[in-house]
């Protein structure tokens, strides 16, 4: 067992974990944060995307011990859910119906937030490229891309108003 201390969704946590435990397992099984899902378990699909120190990573491809001393944000920590709030990108996915079954959605949203942080005004092509590590088996991606573009518009409208 290895002791880790980190911040997850704003809260300090401390645990003894097996070195082989994946970050996604730690989030789901130890912390109960099942909003982060396991899709492919091969680091292909991006459903398990979270932010590590502010940038997107696939949490099935990071060991929990590698996050010692660092900060993790999951889909559950994007907005203050207890207050019934949604992050603007979550709101946009709802508005544009950027999902069908919803399984890929947590990862899609976490990657979209990262993409917009780096490039607040992406073109459609830049959205498609920036989201290439996230697979959706239902939608054909059109509404997901619309959701990200809509979120970009909303955010810039909000910033200028």
């Amino acid at each position: 067992m290895t002791k880790i201390e980190l911040t997850v969704d704003g809260a300090s946590v401390s645990d003894d974990v097996e070195p082989r435990m994946l970050l996604v397992q730690y989030l789901r099984e130890k912390l109960g944060k099942t909003g982060t899902v396991i899709g492919c378990d091969t680091s292909n699909c991006g459903a398990c995307t979270v932010h590590l120190d502010g940038t997107s990573v696939k949490s099935c491809n990071v060991l929990a011990v590698q996050t010692n001393g660092r900060t993790v944000t999951t889909i559950e920590g994007l907005a203050d859910a207890a207050e019934g709030e949604l992050h603007p990108v979550q709101e946009s996915f709802r508005e544009c119906h950027g999902l069908q079954c919803g399984f890929c959605t947590p990862g899609m949203i976490m990657q979209a937030v990262d993409l917009l942080a780096e490039n607040p005004h992406p073109s459609e092509e830049e959205v498609r490229l920036g989201m290439e590590g996230n697979l959706c088996r239902c939608t054909g991606y059109h509404n997901i891309v619309k959701s990200v573009l809509h979120a970009a518009e909303q955010t810039s409208a909000g910033a200028t108003s």
């Binding site: 070195p19 082989r20 397992q25 990573v57 491809n61 060991l63 011990v65 590698q66």
Partner: protein, 281 residues
């Protein structure tokens, strides 16, 4: 699946890491960004008893100007290589190739040195490193040595790094102002290339360097193409004869993505495209 059990060590310095490697030898595996190693461990294709994580060694990260070369720390991520202003100015080819590695999430974790040490012949950084004449700085129990790119890649997943050694940094001779392009042919987005070509040129065209990805058990340099490109005009007709030499001496794999002769055809076509784009044509 999850990996089999292992002990985890997080050394704070290269010296500590080398000591751990010396103690555990063959039973240990170095963890850099983990984007290739963790899938291997999860699929249980490898089961080291000890994993030595270099993630806590700050000196292995970053890019610095060292006169006639850039020095890239082995633990610098693909994301940081892609965006670095020094790399864009002096080794644009690396920025272009780093941008094509896997996807955004993987580029945030995967490292320049880790990918080169992994030496996957379908990896995106070997061919550009070879084309740019990279020098690999390797630390071991007896000190540090430097290996030229031509001697670094030995075979499939095999490099000149010894069992008791660690790749610490890579020196890239400056190619200031050279145009560059990495032409990657994939079946689906964010996958390994079936074939890719790394090209960088001075002028249009005074000099050229061309590397090939996935055209053999190691990255390859298309030297005949490079020689034929010196003085060529940056037009389709001007580069065709040189591009047609790109498959000479290659020994690509045949697999579900394509037969060897198809890959050789791709290498010739993609070389033409890569060179023209690198020349801004």
């Amino acid at each position: 699946m999850i990996p089999v059990e292992f002990d985890y060590l997080a050394p704070a310095s290269v010296e500590e890491a080398l000591a751990a490697l010396g103690e555990h030898g063959d039973d240990a595996k170095i963890l850099a960004g983990g984007q290739s190693l963790l899938p291997v461990l999860r699929m249980r294709l490898n089961a080291p008893e000890v994993v030595i994580d270099l993630g806590g060694i700050a000196s292995l990260r970053g890019i610095r100007d060292d006169g006639d070369a850039l020095v890239i720390g082995a633990m610098t991520t693909h994301h940081d290589v892609r965006d670095d202003s020094l790399v864009r100015e002096h080794a644009l080819l690396l920025s272009k190739a780093a941008a094509e590695v896997a996807d955004s999430q993987i580029r945030h974790r995967g490292t320049f040195g880790g990918a080169l040490a992994h030496a996957d012949p379908a990896g995106d950084l070997g061919a550009p490193a070879l084309a740019l004449g990279a020098q690999f700085v390797i630390a071991g129990p007896g000190g540090t040595r430097t290996v030229e790119a031509a001697d670094f890649f030995v075979d499939l997943f095999e490099t000149a790094i010894g069992d008791d050694e660690i790749l610490t940094e890579v020196r890239i001779p400056k190619h200031t102002g050279w145009g560059a392009h990495y032409e990657k042919f994939v079946r689906v987005a964010h996958q390994w290339p079936i074939v890719a070509v790394a090209a960088t040129v001075r002028g249009s065209i005074d000099e050229a360097r061309v590397g090939l990805t996935n055209m053999g058990s190691t990255p390859l340099r298309a030297t005949a193409t490079e020689q034929a490109l010196a003085g060529a005009s940056a037009t389709e007709d001007g580069v065709r004869a040189a591009a047609d030499l790109a498959s000479d001496g290659t020994n690509p794999p045949s697999d579900l993505n394509g037969a060897a002769d198809y890959r050789q055809h791709l290498a010739r076509v993609l070389t033409g495209r890569a060179v023209l784009k690198a020349a801004g044509a």
